[in-house]
């Protein structure tokens, strides 16, 4: 039986933990709102930029006007941009998206170049690569993977400037290294209790395929776009316009995925912290009961001692 002082100490520490988890929960709740508003703010730009892209691409008559639109066949190597958090304490958030990306990598059967955002993802992929290297039964394509770039500790409220660097690596990989397709693995925010890890194609951009619309989720599918095509005067020329629009669209897709992931991370953390707070309260209550019992026991023992002493004295008389 622990002494009352020990129990008191444990109660205090549990209460402290409760305070910390409560604070983390509140912080996460405010981040969720902010990240959600940011997602909505980019929507008009994405919609218009996409319209312009479709219009210009339609006039190119099937010929890819921009290197980022070029579809490579066959696909010899792929790239995956994996977005995770830097910190844990967010339930299964990190583990889910990492597992989803790994399963995708296994099923695609191509050598992979990883670009990771977030420490958790980087560490997990590093461990995975090391494990595969030791494993003789692992297929060859899984042994030919590497992390080509990693980003961590992005600002809490990322904007296009923060994404530009990540996008640059993705473009370089696609244009110079020949990574023939680039995918993005992130966590889609559905609501505060549900988030879904996803892997979606990022490059090459395929303006007329409906799945592109799904990627960004920014653009409301618009069946009229194609029929609205009109003859534009281009200044200086179509290629210069595409040069402006296409990298921006890809950057926006990455930013969007990043914001979705942040919303998801904060909600996951909020829920995890709420659970922790509740457990802490339950534990504190149970400990309080134990403390009361222990305290009562001490008092009873003291009374017994006193009575014993008194009786011993009486016997002597």
């Amino acid at each position: 039986m622990p002494t009352t002082r020990e129990i008191k100490r444990r109660i205090n520490s549990v209460k402290n933990i409760n305070q910390v988890t409560r604070a983390l929960e509140a912080v996460s709740a405010s981040y969720v709102r902010r990240a959600q508003n940011a997602v909505l703010a980019s929507r008009p730009y994405a919609q218009h930029a996409y319209d312009v892209l479709v219009n210009v691409a339609a006039q190119s008559k099937g010929e890819p006007l921009h290197p980022l639109l070029y579809v490579h066949e066959p696909v010899e190597r792929i790239g995956i941009l994996l977005i995770t958090g830097d910190r844990g304490l967010a339930g299964a958030y990190n583990a889910n998206v990492i597992r989803r990306a790994m399963r995708f990598a296994e099923s695609y059967e191509r050598p992979i170049h990883w670009v990771t955002v977030g420490r958790r993802g980087r560490d997990a992929i590093r461990r995975w690569i090391a494990r595969l290297e030791r494993d003789d039964s692992a297929p060859a394509y899984l042994k030919q993977q590497e992390i080509v770039a990693e980003f961590s500790y992005l600002p809490a409220d990322p904007d296009l400037g923060d994404v530009a660097e990540i996008a640059q690596i993705v473009f370089d990989e696609f244009l110079k290294v020949p990574v023939h397709e680039f995918f993005i693995a992130y966590t889609h925010f559905i609501n505060t209790v549900t988030q879904a890890p996803r892997v979606l194609p990022l490059l090459p951009l395929r303006p007329f395929e409906t799945h592109v619309k799904r990627i960004s989720e920014l653009v409301q599918p618009d069946p009229e776009v194609r029929s609205r095509t009109r003859d534009y005067i281009y200044e200086p020329d179509a290629a210069a316009i595409l040069d402006e629009v296409i990298p921006r669209l890809t950057q926006l897709q990455i930013l969007q995925a990043l914001r979705e992931s942040l919303s998801s991370e904060h909600s996951a953390r909020m829920v995890a912290m709420r659970n922790a707070s509740e457990s802490a309260e339950a534990l504190a209550e149970a400990l309080q009961l134990e403390y009361n019992k222990a305290r009562q026991l001490v008092i009873t023992n003291e009374i017994l001692d006193i009575i014993g002493g008194v009786e011993a004295l009486q016997d002597r008389d």
């Binding site: 994405a46 218009h48 009109r230 003859d231 534009y232 281009y234 200086p236 210069a240 921006r248």
Partner: protein, 150 residues
């Protein structure tokens, strides 16, 4: 016939009106005045001032690159980055300019040099646009402007 104008940047919608009489766009090939019924045009923009004339009023933005789509009845400005002239904080711009100059003095490499030059140009344009706006109406509309564009 008025023109509909929308000014958007990747992070927000800055301005929207259906009552513009003329739009002056900082095109990369030179400044461009757009009146109603302009031929469809897609062009890139450089750094410069975008002015939207609505009757007696002129609404002004500083644009840092992007593209603009012109249709007979609508102008859509897709700016890489933009701010309302009334949002420009001259002190902040001066501070940024001083920082850029200090950096320039500390022997940067070529990439940094280009970035600094860009920063200086940005500051230059922002300051010029801000002064012009202040001369025109003494900066009186600033609060209303900010509410409109927020």
């Amino acid at each position: 016939m008025p023109i509909e104008v929308e000014v958007v940047s990747p992070v927000r919608l800055l301005y929207r009106t259906e009552q513009a009489d003329m739009v002056i766009v900082p095109g990369s090939e030179g400044e461009l005045g757009v009146l109603p019924n302009h031929a469809p045009l897609l062009t890139t923009m450089g750094f410069g001032e975008l002015r939207i004339v609505e009757g007696e009023d002129v609404v002004s933005f500083v644009i840092y690159g992007g593209i603009v789509e012109v249709r007979p009845d609508k102008v859509t400005v897709l700016a890489d980055d933009a701010e309302s002239v009334y949002e420009i904080d001259l002190e902040q711009v001066e501070a940024a300019r001083a920082r850029a100059r200090d950096l320039m003095a500390s022997a940067p490499d070529d990439a940094q040099r280009a970035e600094i030059a860009q920063e200086l140009r940005r500051a230059e344009i922002a300051v010029r646009a801000r002064y012009r706006a202040m001369q025109q109406r003494g900066g009186v509309r600033s609060v209303e402007e900010e509410n409109n564009s927020a």
